[in-house]
Symmetry: C2
Subunit: 273 residues, 2 copies
């Protein structure tokens, strides 16, 4: 294995850029190939079968790009298609659920963990199953928040519409607050952009776990163990999307994803893979 | 042409059911084939090229079902792909934009017409162009409302979350109210489900034009002219979706779409067409 081969990262759309941002920070010498399925976004309200099919097409594409590791930077894909992808390739396949689940068990003191995510992620029970591997004592409480992704995509994560977003967040998070969870997993790659509002609603005592940060951290560990870390001083990044590049470029700028070069964003027909 | 052949209607998802509902009412003897692209929904924030590609795949599918007329019950597809589809088939192809545009020109007294829709519909300027065919005097004011579709899909069109939906509607509709439009086109098939809230925000003096109602009415006119109306006493309806049938069945029940029989909802792989 050539250690300078790129890390493949994918998401249903632009949300996975939060993971990319963390990988840039924690692994500055790695080249990254990112794929965002912007023609078929979102995955969160779609069925297991469809999400598996889409994920396999994306894996096939990433393999043509000669990646050394595959990161599923999408909670819904992780929840539905992790085993499917692991069975299709010998490369390490890393999901965004396991790292956050593990961290939450380390952090909780009262053994009450909350999870928020898309309908698909919550329905799949993937976080509950992942947490069970680390603790049988912990109680897990889940809440789907389907409007959070469109709110971020609409650019309402900023201050201008904060009170509406906060009111919606209060509705969604009400029961988790009443239950008194002390740790809350942001189980969707879009949610770090709402972290401040969610933190305000939940209060200072509740620790938030970002699946983006934890996943990048885990990617580093896995690459160390597999001895495939790069020390490339000039890593090259490429971004592919299934719809026009416009939106992801705007997002990259808005949310300050370093190294996001518009000339490196290309459109591909993912249905062919 | 056999007049008992079905009417083909499609949408990016479940929104087109508002058109189906109107067709059931206005054309009770017609058999309907509905396709909802639930695996790739929504179209509203996607590019022209991608929406055209998806629309052609759906047309190809509807042709295998031997429909006698094609209704694009999706504003974004109508805005981007009407000519493309008309060039691909000799059947009448009806969009949802023209009928509402025409009606709005008939209704306005102060020649100020407002249009709300998805980003794609608004950006395409399709309503403005359609209105221009009927009047050069009218001034048209557009406002994209990207959160309306997810709010309806999340089931927040009902009374429980009304004040949040109303607050969001007030933000979106503020400038149209200030401009003093006297006619407002609901330029998205999901929006009739928010009609009461939109009416409240806009005030009693503003006339709302439902593209669903006007389209069904126009379908009837076109079929009369082409002499392809059916007088079938037992029409049969079939619904196809690209993701699991669950969601559209729930929607059909919730929003009381008559004749919606779950056993007639089938999944197909639209990418093959």
């Amino acid at each position: 294995m050539n250690n300078n081969l790129p890390v493949g990262i994918f998401d249903s759309g632009v949300g996975g850029l939060t993971v990319v941002k963390e990988v840039f920070k924690q692994l500055p010498h790695e080249s990254i190939i990112y794929f965002g399925d912007t023609a078929r976004v979102p995955y969160g309200n779609k069925s297991k079968k469809v999400v598996q099919k889409f994920s396999v097409q994306i894996l096939n594409f990433l393999l043509t790009q000669k990646v050394k590791v595959v990161v599923m930077a999408c909670n819904t894909a992780s929840a539905y298609a992790l085993d499917t992808l692991r069975n299709k390739t010998g490369l390490p396949v890393i999901d965004v659920i396991e790292p956050g689940a593990k961290k939450s068990v380390e952090l909780t003191r009262n053994n009450k963990i909350g999870i928020i995510g898309t309908e698909g992620t919550i329905r799949s029970q993937a976080y509950v199953k992942a947490i069970r591997k680390y603790s049988s004592k912990v109680k897990v409480f889940s809440q789907p928040c389907p409007l959070f992704v469109p709110l971020v995509e609409e650019g309402w994560a900023g201050s201008a519409h904060k009170h509406i977003v906060k009111e919606i967040a209060e509705k969604y998070l009400k029961s988790l607050k009443q239950i008194n969870v002390d740790t809350l997993i942001l189980g969707c790659t879009h949610y770090p952009w709402l972290e401040n509002i969610i933190a305000e609603v939940m209060g200072k005592k509740v620790k938030l776990v970002s699946s983006a940060y934890e996943t990048a951290n885990f990617v580093k560990d896995v690459m160390k163990v597999n001895n495939i870390l790069s020390n490339n001083k000039q890593p090259r990044h490429k971004i592919f999307v299934s719809d026009s590049p416009q939106k992801i470029i705007a997002f990259g700028k808005k949310y300050a994803v370093k190294n996001m070069n518009p000339s490196n964003v290309k459109n591909i027909d993912i249905e062919k893979y």
